[in-house]
């Protein structure tokens, strides 16, 4: 177990290095205008060159890459150019992290509890009314792009329920709708897989044996079916981190939540390269470690997982 975790951890570290390098090099492909606030046209070529030299953008790419890694280890990820000129990027982002983090956790907890409950309910009501209702919900959420239904939720649910349309950090009720919106996709996913695994288990022979022994339906459900259905569910936990990240970017921007996702959309529109680069890196690293934690969790949940297997099928 420890050996597996360590190996998986080093694998993640290597992935982080590859991703950081690739992102940095891709960002170098951008036109250099992005490094001037809005003064590009007013400057003489000499002044432009001086500024580019100050940022180290005229060095060959491998020197730039080396300098970039050196400054990362010194905790310096550059300064914002347009969003808030000359403020260190990390200082801007530091204020945003708590919002994104709380919404992410809230959404994951919500989708896990509601999704599993929904899946169990569907498996018990298989083929009956509620099963159909929840199935329609799942098809709808999976088929319609989230960018569309989330917009309509914001537009009409706020109108119907009188909930505020924009986020306000001091009023609790403005937290409700964004958190629920973020959890919708995850809920549908968990419910779909939970139902599938529960139905799989219900069709197995040992259930008939348990019935023959005289166990009650409730006992069978709790002791056998649910426990066995949970194990394959664990494999969807890592991906759900990625889902939450994707959803949060759109929703934070939609409800003007002062989190990292909203900031990313904002700085992309304003073309503030150092901030875009840092946020992309943070999200990528979050994704990598989300998957890492998920794999470890899965190994804990499922004793049958082959820990010694090298590479290949994961």
């Amino acid at each position: 177990m420890v050996k597996y975790s360590l190996r998986r951890f080093f694998q993640s570290i290597i992935t982080v290095f590859i991703v950081v390098t690739l992102v940095f090099l891709l960002m170098r492909l951008l036109p250099v205008e992005g490094y001037f606030a809005d003064s590009y046209d007013k400057l003489t070529p000499e002044q432009r060159e001086a500024i580019l030299r100050k940022f180290g953008l005229l060095d060959p790419w491998y020197v730039q890459l080396k300098n970039f890694y050196v400054s990362i280890f010194q905790g310096d990820l550059g300064h914002s150019i347009i969003y808030r000129p000359d403020v260190p990027v990390l200082e801007i982002i530091k204020l945003k992290i708590p919002y994104s983090f709380s919404f992410g956790i809230a959404a994951m907890v919500l989708s896990l509890t509601v999704g599993l409950a929904m899946g169990i309910h569907m498996a018990r009501e298989k083929g009956r009314f509620w099963d159909r209702v929840w199935s329609t919900y799942i098809v709808f959420i999976n088929a319609v792009p989230s960018a569309v239904y989330l917009l309509f939720i914001q537009l009409y649910i706020t109108y119907l329920t009188k909930l505020p349309m924009l986020f306000d950090k001091d009023s609790f009720i403005s937290w409700i709708l964004p958190a629920i919106s973020m959890s919708l996709g995850g809920t549908a996913g968990y419910a779909m897989w939970m139902r599938r695994y529960m139905v799989d288990q219900l069709n197995k022979d040992y259930i008939r044996l348990a019935r023959a022994k005289g166990m009650s339906n409730k006992q069978i459900m709790v002791k056998h079916v649910m426990r066995n259905a949970f194990v394959p569910m664990a494999q969807y936990l890592p991906a759900s981190v990625l889902f939450t990240i994707s959803g949060s970017i759109y929703i934070e921007s939609l409800y003007s939540i002062p989190g990292m996702g909203g900031l990313l959309v904002d700085v992309i529109q304003r073309q503030d390269n150092p901030l875009v680069q840092t946020l992309v890196l943070i999200y990528s690293v979050l994704g990598i470690f989300g998957l890492f934690l998920g794999d470890i969790l899965m190994a804990v949940f499922d004793p049958r997982i082959r820990l010694e297997k090298s590479g290949g099928a994961r």
Binding site: T15, V148, I245, L264, G311, A313, R314
Partner: protein, 323 residues
Amino acid sequence: MTSRKKEQIVQPIEDQALFTFAQYDPEAAERVGYSGYSYWGSTVRIFLKNKTAVFLLIMMMLLIAFTIIQPYLPNQKHPNKIHIDPETGYQLRNQRPNEEFWFGTNVIGQDLWARIWSGTRTSLLIAIIVGIWEIFFGIFIGAIWGYVRQLDALITEIYNVINNVPTTILLMLLTYIMRPSFKTMVVAMCATGWLGMARFVRNQIVIIRDQEYNLASRCLGTPTSRIITKNLLPYLVSVIVMRIALSIPGTIGWEVFLTYIGLGLPVDTPSLGNLLNEGRQVMMARSLRYQLIFPAIVLSVITISFYVLGNAFADASDPRNHY
């Protein structure tokens, strides 16, 4: 009761024809050995039983046909033409749906009906190009990944690196560093789209390759081409078609998302994402909401139809559901 049953059983059978010897008939012998099973026949039969899917299939075919021929129909307006009132000389802004403009006009006086169909054309075209790329590149990589054992570890590592980064972030980064255009959109989606397909094909090939029935086929001297077409492909086809059907709603969804962020197609190219974004900007005025609702309805009908169709086809083409 029992005695009566016995009576029935012991009743002599009168028909003497039952006890004559049968002649050897080569045709009848052939018929016993032949099951009449055809993979595509069964697939189509089971698919046609799903009435919803058949309805949606017909509707989608009509819709696609309509988006293609719409510009050539009489009395259609150009999607980018700004309409001007001949009397006052002002632009016909925010006209509610009427006889002249069936879906109304937008904030600068362009015909929403023409824009929606033009946008559907653009979005579907992107989705189909990405879907086709996904099949060819995904299957190619997946097949190499599954068959060539020396490359397994290398491709797995490459896959892990790309897959570890959230797709959203990857798409945003790629569209951010390139100039907004149709090509950018297609390239970015193609760069991320093949991952799922490659992984799926690889896993299937690894599972099926060494199964007993394939081993048996090989021992009986079946040529590789026949093993591939008869033993491997039927298992893959179902999910390949399903993935294409599902990749269409996915691609349209990404397009809408990227447009919202400001990384979408240029504004002079109508697409469903651009239309929704234009509609979103005026959605707070209740009387202008039709500009958001019309594109949203068209988009939802398309994505839901493809999603349901994909699932229905996957069920129909799964050999385990055949009989």
